[in-house]
C-alpha cells in the first residue's frame, strides 16, 4: 500500500526492488509499461490522486453554545475600520479614548474587531479594563473560547479559596479588586490568611490595593505591612494609615506632633523633636540619611519634624484651628518654621490624597509648584488651576508640560485654550527636541479634537525647523483622526 511505496522510494529501487503486488489491483491494471522507477512513480501518482479524490468529511466536534443576542448596537462599518486602525497603531492613550467614547455612546465593538481588541487587552491591563464595557455578549463569548483571552471575558472574581490559592499575582489582584467592591470583609479575610505566605512583591501590591475602599477594618493588615521588611511597603502602609483618623498609627502621630507644634497666641510655636526613638522608626520615620533618601540641607531635627507632620492626618490641623485648610495656612508660624511645615503639609496632602488641602496649598507654592499636588485634585479644579498657572507664563517649558501631563483627557475648553496659547507663544529651540515632541504629543491626545485651530498657525511660523514642523504635522494628523472618530460616533443613529 501507500506506506510500502514510500519506503521503497526512500531506500531506492536499487536497494529495495519495487514489489508491485503491494499495489492495489485496480491501480496496477492501469500502470503503463516501463522501468521499475517509472512504474513506482506512476503507481504513486494514481494511488495519491485516488486517495485525495476519496477524502471524506470528518466526524463533527461538539459546537460551542451559541452567543446570546446582542442587546446593544455594534459599531458601524466605518467606526469599526477606524478602531482597527487604532488597534494596529499601538497608541494606548488613543485606544483608551476610543473605547471610552464607544462606552459613552452605549455601543459594543463589532465582531470583526474583537480578536484584535482582546489581543491588545491580553498584554495591557488598562486596555482590558476599558474594553470590558464595550465587549458586549459577543466579546465575552469570544473571550471564553480562548485561554489567553478568558480573564477578559469574566472580570469579576468569585473569591473561591482554591482559585485564590493557585492564582498568579495578576489573577489574585483581579479577585482582590472585585472582592474589595463586593465583599470587603471577605477580601480582608483572604489577605490575612495569605499574608505570611505572600512574597515581598505580593505584599507591596496588596498594600497598594488597600487604597481602594480603604476602611477602619484594614488597620490590622496595614499594621502588619508597616512592619514589612520592604521600605516601599512600609511607606505605603504608613500613608494609608494616616488616612484613617481613628487608627492607632494616626493617634501616635497626633501625640508626637502635639508635643512639637503648639498653638500659642493665635500662631504655631514649633519645637522639633529631639530624637528619633524606636517607636518612631517602627512608624516608618527615617532616622537619618538613608540610602535612597534625598540628602537635605535642613537639620536632622527638621527632617524628623517634616516626616511627622507629613504622616499626621490633616484633619488634626483643621480641628486644631477649628477652620478650613486655608485657615491653617493663614496661621502665623514662629521662628522660620513655615517653609518646613508647608512642605510637610504638601507631602501629607499627596500621601493622604486630600483634594481640599491640595487646592489650598497650590497658591502658596509660588513658582515651584509640586506637580504631585495637582494629581490629588479633582479634575475640574485641576484644569482651572493649571489654566491659571499657564496664564502666568511659567518660564520653563518643561514645568508647563509637566503641569499639563497631570491633567487627564478630556481637557476643558479653558485648559485647552491656555495650553494652546502657551505652546504657540513660546519660542521653542530650533532643534525641536524631546520637549517639543512631548508637548505636541500631549496636545494631540488631549485637546478637544475640534480645538486645533491655533496649531495650524504654528505650521506657518517663519524659521520653524523641518523637524518641528514634522512634529506639528503629526500632532495635527492625530487630532484629525480623533476628530473623525468623534464625528463618526456623533452620526450614529440614537437608539430609541
Amino acid at each position: 500500500m501507500w506506506d510500502d511505496l514510500v519506503t521503497t522510494a526512500l531506500l531506492g529501487t536499487t536497494r529495495r526492488p519495487f514489489d508491485e503486488t503491494l499495489v492495489d489491483a485496480e491501480v496496477r491494471r492501469l500502470l503503463p509499461a516501463g522501468e521499475p522507477p517509472a512504474r513506482l512513480l506512476d503507481a504513486a501518482a494514481f494511488t495519491s490522486v485516488r486517495r485525495r479524490a476519496g477524502a471524506r468529511l470528518l466526524v463533527p466536534d461538539e459546537p460551542p453554545a451559541p452567543v446570546a443576542p446582542e442587546t446593544r448596537r455594534p459599531t458601524s462599518p466605518a467606526a469599526t475600520r477606524n478602531l482597527l486602525v487604532v488597534l494596529r497603531g499601538r497608541d494606548t492613550e488613543l485606544l483608551l479614548e476610543v473605547l471610552r467614547l464607544l462606552a459613552d455612546h452605549d455601543l459594543v465593538v463589532a465582531p470583526e474587531a474583537l480578536p484584535a481588541l482582546l489581543d491588545v487587552g491580553t498584554g495591557n491591563r488598562a486596555v482590558a479594563d476599558a474594553a470590558g464595557p464595550v465587549l458586549g455578549t459577543h466579546g465575552r463569548w469570544l473571550a471564553a473560547q480562548r485561554d489567553v483571552w478568558r480573564p477578559q471575558g469574566s472580570r469579576s472574581g468569585t473569591g473561591r479559596n482554591e482559585e485564590w490559592e493557585f492564582a498568579n499575582l495578576a489573577d489574585r489582584l483581579e479577585i482582590l479588586r472585585a472582592l474589595r467592591r463586593e465583599d470587603p470583609a471577605r477580601s480582608r479575610e483572604l489577605l490575612r490568611e495569605s499574608w505570611s505566605g505572600a512574597t515581598a512583591d505580593e505584599r507591596e501590591t496588596f498594600t497598594d490595593e488597600l487604597a481602594h475602599g480603604l476602611g477602619a477594618g484594614d488597620e490590622d493588615l496595614l499594621e502588619r505591612a508597616l512592619a514589612d521588611r520592604r521600605r516601599a511597603t512600609r511607606d505605603r502602609a504608613a500613608a494609608l494609615l494616616a488616612r484613617l483618623p481613628g487608627s492607632g498609627y494616626s493617634r501616635r502621630m497626633v501625640d508626637r506632633v502635639g508635643t512639637c507644634v503648639r498653638r500659642e497666641r493665635g500662631g504655631f510655636h514649633v519645637v522639633p523633636p529631639t530624637d528619633c526613638d524606636e517607636g518612631m522608626t517602627r512608624d516608618a520615620i527615617v532616622a537619618g540619611a538613608h540610602p535612597g533618601v534625598e540628602v537635605r540641607s535642613e537639620g536632622v531635627r527638621a527632617h524628623w519634624l517634616r516626616q511627622l507632620v507629613a504622616a499626621t492626618p490633616l484633619r488634626y490641623w483643621t480641628d486644631l484651628v477649628d477652620g478650613s485648610p486655608e485657615d491653617v495656612l493663614r496661621t502665623p508660624v514662629g521662628d522660620g518654621w513655615r517653609a518646613t511645615l508647608l512642605e510637610a503639609w504638601s507631602e501629607a496632602a499627596v500621601r493622604q490624597a486630600d483634594p481640599h488641602w491640595a487646592a489650598a496649598l497650590l497658591p502658596t507654592a509660588g513658582k515651584q509648584v509640586r506637580p504631585e499636588l495637582l494629581s490629588v485634585l479633582d479634575p475640574t479644579t485641576r484644569s482651572r488651576l493649571v489654566a491659571g498657572l499657564l496664564a502666568r507664563k511659567p518660564a520653563d517649558a518643561a514645568v508647563a508640560t509637566a503641569l499639563l501631563r497631570d491633567c487627564a483627557a478630556p481637557w476643558t475648553p479653558e485648559l485647552a485654550t491656555a495650553a494652546l496659547a502657551d505652546t504657540v507663544s513660546r519660542s521653542w529651540p530650533a532643534s525641536a527636541g524631546i520637549g517639543l515632541r512631548e508637548r505636541f504629543d500631549l496636545l494631540a491626545h488631549r485637546l478637544p479634537p475640534g480645538q486645533s485651530g491655533p496649531l495650524q498657525q504654528f505650521l506657518v511660523i517663519p524659521g520653524l525647523s523641518d523637524a518641528a514642523r514634522a512634529t506639528a504635522v503629526r500632532a495635527l494628523e492625530l487630532l484629525e483622526l480623533r476628530r473623525n472618530l468623534h464625528a463618526e460616533l456623533q452620526e450614529e443613529p440614537v437608539t430609541p
Binding site: W2, D3, V6, A9, L10, L11, G12, T13, T14, P32, P36, P37, A38, L40, L41, D42, A44, A45, S48, V49, R52, A53, G54, A55, L57, L58, V59, P60, D61, E62, P63, P64, A65, P66, V67, N82, V85, R88, P111, E112, L114, P115, H138, L142, Q145, R146, Q456, L459, D466, R469, A470, V473, R474, L476, E477, L478, E480, L481, R483, N484
Partner: protein
C-alpha cells in the same frame, strides 16, 4: 480598453477599491489621517487623473498626481512606497467626492504627458505576425519536450537511488533541475521543482509528500509527451501546468461569460520577488468558480480591480482547460457592490466540487468553495467547520480564524475559502445580515 470601461473609470472609485491599493496596512492609517486635514490645495480631477498639493513636513507642499489608467502615481515626497500615503489620501478624498472636477494643474502636465508618450509607441509596435508566432510556438514546444524528457530521467533517478538523498541536499534539492526547466521554457514545472525543498524540510511524513510531488511531476511529463493523443481541453490543462503562455488578446477574443461575479476571496503570495495575487470568484447565476491571477513586483501595490467582498457585473474570459478555472476580466458593466449573500452549498458539495476538479485535473491544489450553514469550532487547536452533513477540516494558514469565530458567535455562517488537501483555508465569512467580512 473599451469605451464603456473608460466611462466607468471616470467615476470616483469606491473607498474599498482605493484602500485595496495600499501597499501595507500602515499606509492605510497614515492616509486616513491625511484625508480631511486642511492641507490640500489646488485639487482637481478630470476622469483621467486626480491631482493636488499636500502640505507635509517639508517646506514646499508635495505635488501629488495619480494617473487613473494603470493606476500610476507621482508624488514629490521622499517615500519609496507606491502609492505613498499622499497619493492614497488624495484618492480617498476623490472617492468621498471631496475633489472638484477641473483642468489639469501645471505641475501635473509634464508627468502625465511623459507617461502618455511612453505608452503609445509600445502599443503601435505590437503588430502580430501569425507566421512568426507559429514558428516561435513550434520552437518552444520542441524545447519543452526535450526539457521534460530530461525531467523524467531525473525523477526516475530520485526513486532509483532513494529519496533519502533529498534530505541530505535539503534546501538545494533539485535546484539544477529547476534551472534546467527555466531554460526549457517550462516555468510552471520550474516553480513546482523549486517548491520541492519546502516539502523535503516539512517534517514528519515528508517522504510521502515528496513522493506525491515527484509522481505528479512525472504524470505531467508523461501527459505532455502524449499531448497529441489528449482531447483539446485536457491538453490545454497540461499546457497550462507546464507554463505555456496564453496571450490575453486571444483570451479576450473568446466569448465571455457574463455574470454577477462574487469576489469570495483574495490571497497574496510572495514568491521569487513577485507578489502573486489570487482572486477567487463565484458566479451568482452560473454558480461557476473562477480564478484571476495577477503578478506585481514585490513592494508595489498589487492589482486592485477586484476587491474581496464585492460583486462585479462583468464578462469573464476563461483560459481553455478542464475544468475551466483561470480567467481574465473583460468588459465590466457596473460599479462593484457589496457581497452579502451567496447561493447555499453544503460541506459535502464543496468537497465533491474539489474532487470533481481533481478527477479531470490531478494537478489541482486548491479549489474555491462556498460552505453554508456551518459553525466554526476549535477544539485543542484543531479548527473545523461543522455543518449538518459533517465537519470540514480547516487549514488556518495565515487566516484570521478567530475573526471567523467572532463573526459566527457559535451560530451557523457561510464561509468562503480555498479547499485543498489539508482542508479549507478560510478567506471570508458571511453571517447573512452584514457584508462579507474578509479574513
Amino acid at each position: 480598453v473599451s469605451t464603456e470601461t473608460a466611462a466607468w473609470a471616470s467615476l470616483p472609485w469606491s473607498r474599498d477599491v482605493v484602500l485595496a491599493l495600499a501597499p501595507d496596512s500602515g499606509s492605510v492609517g497614515a492616509a486616513a489621517k491625511l484625508t480631511t486635514l486642511q492641507s490640500w490645495t489646488a485639487e482637481g480631477a478630470d476622469g483621467k487623473a486626480v491631482w493636488g498639493l499636500c502640505t507635509g513636513s517639508g517646506k514646499n507642499p508635495y505635488q501629488v498626481v495619480v494617473d487613473l489608467a494603470g493606476p500610476a502615481y507621482s508624488c514629490s515626497c521622499p517615500s519609496r512606497k507606491f502609492p505613498c500615503k499622499h497619493a492614497l489620501a488624495l484618492l480617498l478624498r476623490w472617492s468621498a467626492g471631496q475633489v472638484p472636477a477641473g483642468d489639469p494643474a501645471d505641475f501635473t502636465t509634464s508627468w502625465l504627458t511623459t507617461r502618455a508618450q511612453k505608452s503609445e509607441p509600445v502599443a503601435a509596435e505590437r503588430t502580430p505576425d501569425p507566421e512568426a508566432a507559429a514558428r516561435r510556438a513550434e520552437r518552444r514546444a520542441g524545447r519543452v519536450t526535450a526539457g521534460l524528457a530530461e525531467l523524467d530521467v531525473w525523477l526516475q533517478d530520485q526513486v532509483r537511488t532513494g529519496l533519502a538523498g533529498a534530505a541530505r541536499a535539503g534546501y538545494s534539492y533539485g535546484s539544477a533541475t529547476a534551472a534546467r526547466m527555466v531554460d526549457a521554457q517550462a516555468p510552471g514545472v520550474a516553480s513546482a521543482v523549486r517548491r520541492l525543498p519546502g516539502t523535503v524540510v516539512s517534517g514528519e511524513g515528508w517522504a510521502g509528500r515528496l513522493l506525491e510531488e515527484l509522481a505528479l511531476l512525472r504524470l505531467l511529463a508523461t501527459a505532455h509527451a502524449r499531448l497529441d493523443e489528449l482531447d483539446e481541453l485536457t491538453a490545454a490543462t497540461v499546457r497550462a501546468h507546464v507554463g505555456y503562455p496564453v496571450r490575453s488578446e486571444e483570451l479576450l477574443a473568446r466569448p465571455g461569460v457574463r455574470d454577477e461575479w462574487a469576489v469570495t476571496g483574495v490571497r497574496d503570495l510572495v514568491q521569487e520577488r513577485l507578489t502573486v495575487r489570487r482572486v477567487w470568484l463565484r458566479g451568482s447565476d452560473s454558480g461557476r468558480a473562477a480564478l484571476v491571477l495577477t503578478f506585481s513586483p514585490e513592494g508595489q501595490a498589487p492589482d486592485t480591480s477586484l476587491t474581496a467582498g464585492t460583486v462585479v457585473d462583468a464578462d469573464l474570459h476563461f483560459h481553455p482547460g478542464n475544468p475551466p478555472l483561470r480567467a481574465v476580466v473583460g468588459e465590466r458593466y457596473a460599479e462593484p457592490r457589496q457581497l452579502r449573500r451567496l447561493a447555499p452549498r453544503t460541506a459535502g458539495q464543496a468537497v465533491a466540487e474539489f474532487q470533481t476538479a481533481l478527477a479531470t485535473d490531478p494537478w489541482t491544489r486548491r479549489w474555491p468553495v462556498v460552505v453554508s450553514d456551518v459553525v466554526p469550532v476549535v477544539r485543542e487547536g484543531r479548527w473545523t467547520l461543522v455543518g449538518p452533513d459533517g465537519a470540514l477540516a480547516v487549514d488556518p494558514g495565515g487566516a484570521d480564524v478567530w475573526r471567523m469565530l467572532a463573526v459566527s458567535g457559535g451560530h451557523p455562517v457561510t464561509v468562503t475559502g480555498e479547499l485543498g488537501d489539508r482542508g479549507i483555508r478560510p478567506l471570508g465569512v458571511l453571517d447573512g445580515s452584514r457584508p462579507m467580512v474578509v479574513l
